[in-house]
Amino acid sequence: MGSFIIRRVAQSLIIVVLIAVTVFLVLRLSAGDPARIRAPVFARPDVIEQYRRDFGIDRPLIEQLGSFFLNALRGDLGQSFRFQAPVTDLILQALPKTLMLAGVSLALSLAVAIVLGSLAALRPRSFWGWLSSAVAAFGQSAPVFWTGAVLVLVFAVGLRWLPSGGYNGLSSLVLPAIAVTLSILPTQLRVLRASMQAVLKEDYIRTARAFGLRERRITFVYALKNACLPLLTVIGVDIGYLLGGVIVAEVVFAFPGIGELALVALNARDYPLIQGITIVTASFFVIVNLLIDLLYTRVDPRIRLERS
């Protein structure tokens, strides 16, 4: 078991390093010459050369990569062109808000998926079954930028209940979180409903019933524990959609998180910042999947046994 954790953590580290190398190289190949981007349009060649030396891109690529990694290890991801500030500081300012938005959306989505999915599985022909199908179909077909815009129109512009954008405390979180939730909910809802339906037919549910356990306990402990295993896998995959959705929602709601920062960086061809953001979000994806893998072994004793 211990060796499994070490192996899994080591794998994740390697993946993060590979991501960093790839991002570094791809940006060097595609973003164009950063000195030309930064320098005034009609700058003299020696000025451009000066910029090159400042960015360190006059040196061979391998050397650049080496110093990039050495700096990254010390927490230095370079200097943003656009903001003239350390990339690390910019990311650290924006990241908590993004994580909060992503976390709230994920929690909301899981809560709805579990409650609504279970009810729909128990009584497929009831109102809950219908509602669950309707929510899943709607969420699947409506893109985040559209639901976001509609939410703003209805609740911010029309009803004036909530702010339309920016960040002034928790109330600014509500609309973007609902928009993101609607985009990640359908898969989770469908998976939980289907797995719950399958689990409810299992022998051990009949056993629980045969020993006089109360239906609520049977459904929400004996069945739900088993039904949640596929959901856990889906979350790992969904983190990608979640981050994508969060970034779109941040742009729609002018929410000052990583997504908005990324958009500014892209428009300004601020490639140290783009590079930093890409590496950080990709690492986040890897870390969450690592955590889910480890969580799996906590939840399912059969996997623990297999891997030890």
Binding site: Y204, T207, A210, F211, L213, R214, Y222, D300
Partner: protein, 330 residues
Amino acid sequence: MEPVLSVENLSVRFPGRAGDITVVDDLSFSLEAGRSLVIAGESGSGKSMACQTLLGIAPGSARVTATRIGWRGRDLQKLSQEDWRGVRGAEIAMIFQDPTAALNPLITVEHQIVDAVRAHRRCSRDEARARAVEVLGMAGFPDAAQRMKSYPSELSGGLRQRVAIALALANAPSLIIADEATTNLDVSIQAQIVKLLRELQKKLGMALIFVTHDLGLAAEIGDDLLVMYAGHAVEYGPARGVLADPCHPYTRGLLRSAPTLKSSRDNPLVPIPGQPPQPGSIGGGAPFRSRCPVSVAGVCETARPGWSEAGPGHLVACHRFAQDGRRGLP
């Protein structure tokens, strides 16, 4: 003595495309406190389904009808949902066929037994835990206090079956139904489990229904024996009497087709020809007629045989027996 359980004219039907399919037809039997009944028959003979109706856990689509399912002075059919819940596990408990599937894989043995205890008794977790250790000990589960913290997947098949037995004992029920409880086990463990069940039943004074397809076990564990074929009771009586003098062609065929120590090349096994009928295809005649070597022409096709007495308390449902007695049997 007044029976604790008396089942009268129990039928279980499932709605099918071409009308209802009957899987248990007009079954009646009774069981006195502290006695054991073996229900024997092939797969699909309706024996498991009959037992599930005694706990009210037959699949939702099943249509259960009976004149009466008497249990300690009450009719189980008339219980409310909450009263049913009070009977399940507390008064009547079941040991299921496959302990691997019947135990929840994500909940520890301890937790499952504690939950079963606390479903019926207001007591602290610690008291319930003490009870779990006690019943696991009774079921022959070694080192219970420690090992009950295991998950079912961490135990061997034999141990899992002991957990299932402990679970059934948890609330000291008056009746335990063991549904093919030893079928999935090695023969040696099978013998241990059968012995254990018999001892527990005697010691605790419980009634026991033991469902099996192995008539050989009937002699070891049963006071009474009920032989089922295609949803019908075909022979019923004291186990010794029935096994010493089987009077239904199906019971006789079943005994001849099972290996014993006397089986040899000169004394070969005789299989019963043909296949059990599809559920619902029997119609009104004798259920065994299509495979019966001695069916009575013109009678078995049309009339359902009633009980004839073959000995003290020994009943057989066979037109041939009713007509010719033992002389006519194969």
